[in-house]
Subunit: 208 residues, 2 copies
DNA sequence: CATAAAACAATCCGATCGGTCGCACTTTTT
DNA sequence: AAAAAGTGCGACCGATCGGATTGTTTTATG
């Protein structure tokens, strides 16, 4: 990256995508408009078209950016924990921490976008589906590792457990915003903790 | 309802709201527009304004209508089952059946709308939150009845169990659409069945 | 039969949408 | 020094949005 022109463009792009991900959790990925994005960034709308020629390109870029952000904020810290059930638990906790951090007004980019595109086939839906697939693949891989390490019951179904853990995280997103009185995060933690301890021959590995 | 004028209006209203709920699961509750709704119904846009003067009024009416629909399609059939853990299980199953029926392209009006309005305070969000509250209240009441009947462990936390059951149903909505290969409904059924059997002194009440 | 009310339709409005075009600025390349 | 490439801006276009206005058809009631 020696070219100053490209470096400048890259800076603008990431700044715009940061704002785009935030905006998408407020107005939706379809409600994400060049107008609003330009206004929030203090740049001209046509300047944004230099980076993404259509709205769909912008949406796809936003999905990729949100996935990179998720990897950075949730997955990477969890990978610092030792393989097995503790890493699985860390993944769940970091996800809940990210949701409750308030960094994204909507709590979770993917929860919102995936629901929004449930009935909208097309490239954006495909990209979202691929991201969801990778997320489940990661969960299932970590679960399988835990089984192989003897930290989870050999009869554990990785797909089943992955479904459950992800469901608890997703529910925490909208329940926390629509029912602030209910202690959702406690429920999401308790559900996962209870489940993992029940499946683990070494439940002491998971201290609350 | 002897007045033919009012009767005609009532018919038009319910027909419009039926279409509005469907349309909202495709385009979102915010993407629900008078233009599209009028076109789909084959009526004029201004005709719709006679029933709902603003978009917000239409959205609120759609939420109410969707809740009535949900009560009719999910809650009422489940209430035919005997009080206790079987009624709780029936509620879960009827919800999954409704999601997989394909009657709503998006699978579930509330899942989509609640996520959409997570970061949009206002009357619509309040209405959605109230509906979610009533849903959880119903779940918790039926859980409490099951505990009182001795069909669930006395130590059962109704709020916790309600959170988990609802989470599994919600996740089934978007997982079924974005990952058709994964057998989501089986996962959602297995998760609930496993949980309820583990909490019940009479697990034989729940046959798969 | 006349009148009032409710249900609908046709038309128009300002704002915003996604998108295009031409021009200016900056940095690299020749 | 000049050409080329990447970036950014302002003005503009057609379409659609939510909404208001005005008028027409249907139906009940005096």
């Amino acid at each position: 990256m020696i070219d100053g022109r490209l470096a400048r463009g890259e800076r603008s792009r990431t700044a715009a995508l940061d704002a785009a991900v935030v905006l998408a959790t407020e107005s939706g990925l379809e409600g994400l408009s060049f107008n609003q994005l330009a206004e929030r960034l203090g740049v001209s709308k046509s300047g944004l078209f230099a980076h993404w020629r259509t709205k769909e390109e912008l949406q796809l870029a936003a999905v990729d950016h949100a996935e990179a952000r998720f990897t950075e904020r949730v997955v990477r810290p969890a990978l610092h924990r030792p393989r097995g059930v503790r890493r699985l638990w860390a993944l769940h906790e970091h996800r809940l921490a990210d949701i409750s951090s308030g960094d994204l007004p909507g709590g979770c980019f993917f929860g919102l976008a995936q629901f929004e595109f449930v009935a909208r086939p097309g490239p954006v839906q495909a990209r979202l589906a691929a991201a969801l697939e990778r997320w489940h693949a990661l969960l299932e891989r970590i679960i399988t590792e835990a089984v192989e390490l003897g930290e989870l019951d050999p009869g554990t179904d990785p797909q089943q457990l992955s479904f459950e853990l992800n469901a608890h995280g997703t529910a925490a997103v909208y329940e926390s915003r629509l029912r602030p009185a209910s202690n959702v995060y406690e429920h999401a933690r308790a559900a996962a903790l209870d489940r993992l301890r029940g499946l683990s021959p070494q439940p002491h590995l998971l201290e609350a």
